[in-house]
Amino acid sequence: MVADKSDGSPEPDSQSGPGEDFVRLFTQTQRSIYLFILPLVRTAADAEEVLQETNVVILSKWKQFEPGTNFTAWCKAIARLEVFRFRRSRHHRLQLMGEDVVDLLARKIEEQPVDQERRRDALTACISKLRSSDQELLQRRYLAGVTGEEVAHQMGRPANSVYQSLGRVRRVLLECVRRRLSTGGVQQ
């Protein structure tokens, strides 16, 4: 279904909203914007909320973006403003980290090389190497979209022990991803 009216004319009609190129960039960038936001707020739900607000701004200001410049950086700048706006809004569910800490972290993330794609691929490979009970745990936690506490409840285990197992698995994954990235990553 790649239909289209904008076919042939890369310049979108200013009345009808952003064009295909913009949308492609936009969709491709979602993940990195989300990953930019997440460490700066306390919870996944907060991150989603900020992402939504950010998207609204991005889509309403699409005309201000100059094609050819760094789209991701542009989006992150917007996201950063949204993070701080969110902090003032008091919608957040948990106590936030200090502004100075958020600032430090944001700067640190902006320095990061843009290698989220490679990281994701490495992560995929690493997950496949986990033993199956750990994979199951990840599925319960992430695929089903429930909190660790609910997972604990389902499995009839104390929450703390589930947190611990999740922590261990994440740590194994972190180390595995690092190893893969440092060895060039292609050792399937």
Binding site: S6, G17, P18, E48, Q95, L123, K129
Partner: protein
């Protein structure tokens, strides 16, 4: 725990939205002061984010709506591509696990034959029949006759009533300076004063009395003890019991090939002063005191270091107990503080229950709410009057100053007496308010604030004419060495619970007190006793009478096989692989990795005793997979390669011999050799000889490590 471990723990709780405010502060502190922590934190949270995103909880749906409404293109393919993201399904596991599972299958089939062989061996060994008591007796005298025997009269028991108690200097022990514990100050405690008692207490006498009392019980029950264990069986048992790991091939063969009649004594003495034995004790007691999962904020490392020092220097057990109970100071500077710091929650009820259980061998946690249903002497009042000793103890968190340069900052707490006073109140079952002063063994303290209650408790423990601290330790140590204590469970002593060998229990307790609570001597007596020398091979007749596994009274007429603990398994796997490959596998991971590994089996409960449960079931193939370490995965083929290389021009049968020695500390049986030859032959149809040999060796090693014989302490 390094600062990065700590950060990862906090990041983990962050992901689960389970950080307490205190932890959030700590996290922010780390992030402010350490650039590496920032990167690590971001890396971890983004990994979590990748998973969230791919799992599809997060923005996926909203994004769909958003995109569809705001954008009038149907660029859904792209959106779909983003949403699909990581396939988490286990399907993808199939390929990369294929290798591992092939091994498991082979290992399993080997395991069957190994097990069959073990059974066969046990059967065969039964044939010669049990050795008679008489021959055992002669044996003992040759074993111990050399230098130490001063008297051999069986009646020369220690004076029963007069048990001198080594005086305890309180300021010396308990109150180590809040600064670095000054080695000299600590060591100045009772040992010198106990020399005089030690002089007239000979190890040979104590051991002989143990043997006599054990034999008496055999005779009373008309039971023949098992045969003596062979050198291989004994040396493995001695290493595992004392150092917590199996011996290497070299260590075992050094022992086996020595022909000195005193080699047993010599090995025991060298193991007792080996740093591994002190480490093993320190690990065990750290686990007992604060648990393996250690969810509360204490400085585990610091507690471990304290215990290690106590055991390395063989400090009197009473002194260690005193220091733990009366500790004051900072958690990072006085390791002993961490025991109480871990248990002062909930009005110090866990502190009360754990102190009673570990140091006094009494289970009192139920009496917190009601009198003991069977044990009349154990009342709710007793619980609360013990609890009253901890009333002054106060835990405070020290705000950590922001200088990250000076080493790794850890959270720090202090333990101090608040000068609190007054009675302790509790509600009885009828809802009546009761009040008690601190009271132990019949002596009550004034309930004012003039005395340090914890110091007073230490004094009373030391003066206790029932020697409860010694009894509890003797029972626990005996259980550790022989698989069963004099009571079951080991930490539930009292008139309501029958003792299997009352006279022996008293004898050991009194000797332990007389020795000045000397841990090394206690362990020496047990390791050199006749019962410790018996084989684990059982005859039908013995089994019928002496089967504590089935609830019977233990008679110690054979060694009871039992499963190793997770730490022992971990260390033993490493030793075995090292023996085979003749080189250590990456030792840098060491204890941190072991701890992490063990934690997988621990579940903690927030009960009134800060309880936890070990879910380790000794399933080795599971255990090995859980090592998660590529080190094991890669060490095994390497080790197999090493064996193949060194055997080049020798016979095929030597590979299993070497592997059996490394893993089980015994030679390979005929059937094992046959299984190996068959495997080799089958493989060499499709592989070049050397490769076939290597693969067969590798499979055989897995099979041995997978056997239930490997995980057993027998």
């Amino acid at each position: 725990m390094t600062i990065h471990d700590e950060l990862l723990n906090l990041a983990n709780l962050y992901c689960e939205e389970a950080l307490t405010e205190e932890q959030l502060d700590r996290l922010q502190f780390l992030l402010r002061t350490d650039v590496d922590c920032q990167s690590l934190f971001i890396e971890m949270i983004q990994l979590h984010g990748q998973l969230l995103w791919s799992g599809g909880i997060s923005p996926g749906h909203q994004f769909d709506e958003l995109a569809e409404s705001a954008v009038e293109t149907d660029d859904l393919e792209l959106i779909e591509a983003v949403r699909k993201a990581i396939p988490l399904a286990p399907l993808s596991a199939g390929i990369s696990h294929a290798r591992g599972s092939r091994r498991i299958v082979i290992a399993a089939s080997f395991m069957v034959s190994v097990l069959a062989v073990i059974l066969l061996v046990i059967r065969q060994n039964q044939l010669p029949g049990p050795v008679s008591v008489a021959s055992n007796e002669t044996d003992i005298s040759t074993q111990t006759s050399v230098s130490e025997i001063t008297t051999t009269s069986e009646n020369s028991v220690l004076p029963e009533d007069v048990v001198p108690v080594p005086p305890l200097k309180l300021d010396g022990i308990a109150r180590t300076q809040p600064q670095r514990p000054d080695a000299n100050a600590v060591t100045s405690v009772p040992v010198q004063t106990t020399e005089q008692f030690v002089a007239d207490l000979s190890d040979a006498d104590v051991i002989e009395e143990i043997d006599r009392l054990i034999r008496t019980a055999w005779e009373d029950n008309r039971i023949q003890p098992a045969a003596e264990a062979g050198d291989h069986e004994w040396v493995r048992r001695a290493y595992l019991t004392l150092t917590g790991r199996i011996p290497t091939i070299e260590q075992a063969s050094e022992y086996v090939t020595t022909s000195s009649p005193r080699k047993r004594d010599r090995l025991v003495d060298s193991l007792l002063s080996d740093s591994l034995t002190a480490e093993n004790l320190a690990v065990n007691w750290t686990n007992l005191l604060i648990g393996r999962s250690n969810p509360r904020d204490v400085d585990e490392q610091s507690l471990y270091s304290f215990l290690l020092e106590q055991f390395t220097e063989n400090r009197p057990w009473m002194e260690t107990v005193g220091q733990l109970i009366a500790a004051e100071g900072r958690s990072d500077e006085n390791g002993a503080t961490n025991f109480l710091l871990a248990h002062l929650n909930d009005q110090a009820t866990p502190a009360t229950a754990v102190t009673a259980r570990l140091f006094l061998g009494q289970q009192v946690h139920c009496t917190q709410c009601h009198d003991h249903p069977f044990a009349k002497e154990r009342s709710q009042q007793e619980f609360w009057s013990l609890n009253a000793f901890f009333k002054q103890a106060e835990r405070k968190r020290i705000p950590v100053t922001a200088n990250a340069e000076s080493g790794t900052p850890r959270p720090v707490w202090t333990l101090a007496d608040s000068g609190g006073s007054g009675m302790t109140f509790y509600d009885d079952r009828l809802g009546r308010k009761k009040a008690v002063p601190p009271q132990f063994a019949g002596e009550a303290l004034p309930a004012d604030g003039t005395t340090s209650r914890r110091m007073e408790l230490v004094r009373l423990l030391n003066a206790d004419s029932n020697h409860q601290v010694a009894r509890a330790m003797v029972n626990r140590t005996w259980a550790q060495f022989f698989g069963h204590g004099f009571t079951a469970p080991v930490d539930d002593l009292g008139p309501h619970n029958p003792v299997s060998h009352p006279e022996l229990f008293d004898h050991l307790t009194k000797s332990f007190v007389r020795s000045g609570y000397d841990m090394r001597r206690l362990m020496r007596w047990m390791t050199l006793s006749q019962a410790f020398r018996l084989s684990s091979v059982q005859s039908e007749a013995t089994l019928a009478v002496d089967d504590p596994q089935e609830g019977g009274t233990p008679l110690f007429s054979r060694a009871y096989p039992r499963q190793m603990g997770p730490e022992q398994v971990y260390d033993s796997i490493r030793i075995a692989i090292r023996s085979v490959s003749q080189q250590p596998i990456d030792s840098s991971v060491g204890t941190t990795h072991r701890k992490e590994w063990v934690e997988q089996f621990v579940r903690s409960y927030g009960t009134d005793e800060n309880d936890e449960q070990l879910t380790f079931d000794g399933n080795i193939s599971q255990a090995m997979l859980m090592m998660n370490g590529e080190d094991i995965e890669s060490a095994i083929p390497l080790a197999a390669g090493e064996v193949t290389k060194s055997l080049q021009d020798r016979t095929v049968s030597e590979a299993p011999e070497r592997l059996a020695m490394a893993t089980l500390n015994r030679g390979a049986t005929e059937n094992e050799e046959k299984a190996f030859r068959n495997r080799y032959r089958a493989l060499s149809r499709s592989l070049p000889a050397e490769q076939a040999m290597k693969t067969a060796t590798e499979d055989m090693l897995w099979a041995y490590l997978n056997s239930s014989e490997f995980v057993s302490l027998h």
